[in-house]
């Protein structure tokens, strides 16, 4: 029997061949994860690329959506969730969002996975607290920042004849103030917005008043007896002492511009989050040659910001596996150290290789090893309204030289009564 090869049969055979040929590729197709984040700076993207490169080397793929920083971060994320296209990985620190995801069946605890890969015991205590929501690990920590460190200009210090590394207390630091001023420099660079006032204040509450008062003041429901504590009054007093160093241009000055006054050699130092390092690097300055870093002298505790990605649950097995692969990549000691060195943060594990860490990273890691020495950034633990009230009160205090410590305590009490009736 002869069979004619009709065009229909030809097409069928071609289709079958394509299907057979494509089958192995289909089964080995990369799992694509959607990543939502708020990073676009050179250092942030360089660091993110280090993770993505390592993750994609495992045969997965990332598509991303970047939105402007924190102020605009939540709204597009909520839109994606409402539209039914939630990202697999996202930056968001609000515990409420994670609770909502759990209610929608989209929560995914990471405790078991991090235990399995041996990451949990190597997370510093503050990191572990920051990535938990209602007792479960729900976030993948990427990097650690200290909310209040001192970055100083080494040439200015040398010209003024002071050595910040010798300061053992804030009193030692202020003992050198006149020397610096007489050499023609501003002693401390001060900026002018609520962000800087708020961060300086909570860094000082941790440094001057200590972790107990810090946690009672910034806890979910503050302990109102904390307003009677001498430590809190001392922190407010120190805030006044530092902010009164402001030069003429402090009003409305962003932290980056404040850093520029230190970089340009007009000012000796700045007390702010250690992300200042990024601005020094952007100006092509070298740690150890042009600038140095120290903790606030005599600090009793460090307030720590932990950057982290949230993860989406309720996914098919292959997607969930890829998400966990991503989590494993982020907290891999080698990759996390590389991430930190590019981004200017510090690693989230204590067992990372130290070859890529600079002196500031090393200082941070040494500090995080001390038990009870670090506290969580208020954004992780405080009521939002209470935090806004504290920021506004301290910014008003900064700008009003007639306001006293008693006035500040009085304002805290009345704000407390309004926020927690």
């Amino acid at each position: 029997m002869s069979r004619r090869l009709t065009s229909k049969r030809l097409l069928g055979a071609f289709g079958l061949a394509l299907a057979i040929g494509a089958a192995p590729f289909a089964s080995a197709a990369a799992t694509e994860l959607k990543l939502f984040h708020t990073w676009s700076n050179e250092s942030e993207i360089g660091a993110l690329n280090a993770i993505v490169k390592a993750f994609e080397a495992k045969g997965n793929k990332i598509t991303e959506m970047a939105v402007p920083h924190e102020q605009a971060g939540s709204s597009p994320l909520v839109s994606l969730i409402v539209a039914g296209t939630p990202p697999n990985l996202f930056i968001n620190s609000e515990p409420g969002l994670y609770r909502d995801l759990t209610k929608r069946g989209l929560g995914e605890p990471l405790d078991a996975y991090f235990d399995k890969i041996g990451a949990t015991p190597n997370f510093p205590e503050t990191v572990l607290k920051s990535i938990k929501v209602d007792g479960e690990i729900r976030k993948i920590p990427t990097g650690v920042h200290i909310d209040g460190m001192i970055y100083y200009n080494k040439k200015v210090a040398a010209e003024a004849g002071v050595d910040p590394t010798k300061w053992a207390s804030l009193d030692d630091m202020f003992a050198d103030m006149k020397k610096v001023q007489q050499a023609g420099f501003t002693f401390i660079g001060v900026g002018g917005n609520t962000f800087q006032a708020g961060y300086l204040f909570h860094a000082l509450v941790a440094a001057v008043a200590g972790p107990d008062i810090y946690n009672r003041f910034y806890g979910e429901t503050p302990d109102k007896t904390v307003f009677d504590e001498k430590g809190l009054r001392d922190a407010i007093d120190m805030f006044r002492k530092i902010t009164s160093q402001a030069d003429a241009g402090w009003v409305n000055r962003q932290w980056n511009e404040t850093t520029s006054t230190v970089i340009s050699g007009k000012t000796l130092m700045q007390i702010h989050g250690d992300w200042m390092k990024g601005q020094w690097k952007a100006n092509k300055k070298v740690l150890g040659e042009d600038f140095g870093c120290i903790n606030i002298p005599g600090t009793k505790a460090l307030s720590v910001t932990v950057d982290a990605f949230g993860i989406l649950g309720g996914q098919p097995d292959d997607v969930l596996k890829a998400e966990l692969d991503f989590a494993g990549t982020v907290v891999d000691p080698k990759i996390n150290a590389e991430f930190a060195s590019i981004k200017g943060s510090s690693p989230v594990r204590l067992d990372v290789p130290t070859d890529k860490l600079d002196a500031c990273n090393q200082l941070v890691l040494d500090s995080l090893k001390k038990p009870g020495f670090s506290v969580q950034n208020p954004f992780n633990i405080s009521d939002t309204d209470w935090l806004n009230s504290v920021w506004n009160t301290m910014y008003t205090f900064q700008g009003d030289p007639d306001m006293t410590v008693d006035d500040v305590i009085g304002d805290f009490r009345s704000e407390y009564a309004a926020v927690f009736p």
């Binding site: 250092s43 959506m65 970047a66 402007p68 990024g278």
Partner: protein, 307 residues
């Protein structure tokens, strides 16, 4: 002064062969006050603009000195090139040009949809006997006062159910819907000056709703179309929130790319790149204004019949 007006002036000054000295115009106090006010208004915009422009040409070392009004000691286009071609928005490091083309892709369907929808609605309300036209216009007018943020999330759900969320079509549809109240009112007010006799004559000549619109109304709409085009180009190009909310993972306009570049809480800032990126984003609407500004004024003051 041209030759004719110079002749008229000299003729006015020489009456009957005698030369009368011209009265010098005195500048009144009120005029001085207006001039000072206008100069202050101009300075209010132009001084920050000057700072933006000179900063975009400075090096980071000079910017760190903080002398914002000084001219660049070394003029450099590095900031402009980085802003146009290299700056990152997320992991896409293609500069603001990446968003430029997306913004263009958003602009054209947004203009087409919004102008088509509003011009037809305005035409129907102005020239045809539409039942409930008054209440409809009132509701439309009230809609213009509803803040977008209130209806944002329901609109997200709506575009998702239409299957267009995260595409340029979602952004275009939202622009068209949100612009509809204002544009409809503009078109309706423009078309109501068309004499009803013209429409009646067209109907008697067996003109249909669409044929009259296409062959009579549209050709006389040039002035108002320019006005609406300028309004919409500016509004769509400068929009941030709609692009951010409805662009999803792949359709973010230039303003979102710019915001990604400029807004940072903890990251380093390259002021020269930021300033250049802001200027690059502002150039297209400025070009439209400079190019079509004259027609805008004409369109605002002209009616459908008077030219």
């Amino acid at each position: 002064m041209n030759a004719v007006s110079a002749y008229e002036t000299s003729a006015a000054a020489r009456i009957g062969g005698r030369v009368y000295p011209r009265r010098r115009r005195r500048i009144k106090g009120a005029s001085i006050a207006v001039l000072v006010f206008l100069a202050m208004c101009a300075a209010f915009i132009s001084i920050p603009l000057y700072v933006v422009i000179v900063t975009s040409f400075k090096t980071m070392d000079q910017i760190a000195l903080g002398e914002v009004f000084s001219l660049p000691t070394t003029w450099t286009f590095e900031g402009w090139w980085k802003a146009w071609a290299e700056v990152c928005s997320g992991m896409t490091c293609e500069g603001v040009r990446h968003g430029f083309f997306i913004s263009l892709a958003i602009l054209f369907p947004s203009l087409f949809l919004s102008i088509a929808l509003a011009s037809v609605t305005g035409y129907a309300l102005a020239l045809w006997n539409v039942r409930w036209a008054g209440p409809f216009l009132f509701v439309l007018f009230m809609c213009a006062f509803v803040p977008f943020q209130i209806i944002m999330i329901p609109l997200v759900a709506l575009t998702a159910s239409l299957g267009i969320y995260g595409t340029i079509w979602a952004i275009a549809v939202i622009h068209a819907v949100l612009a509809m109240p204002l544009l409809t009112l503009i078109f309706r007010n423009f078309y109501k000056d068309v004499p009803p006799e013209i429409i009646n004559a067209a109907i008697m000549d067996s003109g249909s709703f669409w044929r009259i619109f296409a062959e009579i109304i549209l050709p006389m709409s040039g002035n108002i179309m320019i006005v609406v085009l300028i309004l919409m180009i500016t509004s769509v190009w400068n929009d941030f929130l709609i692009g951010l909310t409805f662009g999803g993972m792949g359709a973010q306009p230039m303003t979102v790319i710019l915001a990604n570049t400029v807004i940072t809480e903890r990251g380093e800032v390259h002021y020269n790149v930021d300033m250049a990126a802001a200027l690059l984003t502002a150039i297209p609407p400025l070009v439209v204004y400079f190019g079509l500004g004259k027609f805008f004024v004409q369109g605002i003051t002209a009616g459908a019949i008077k030219g």
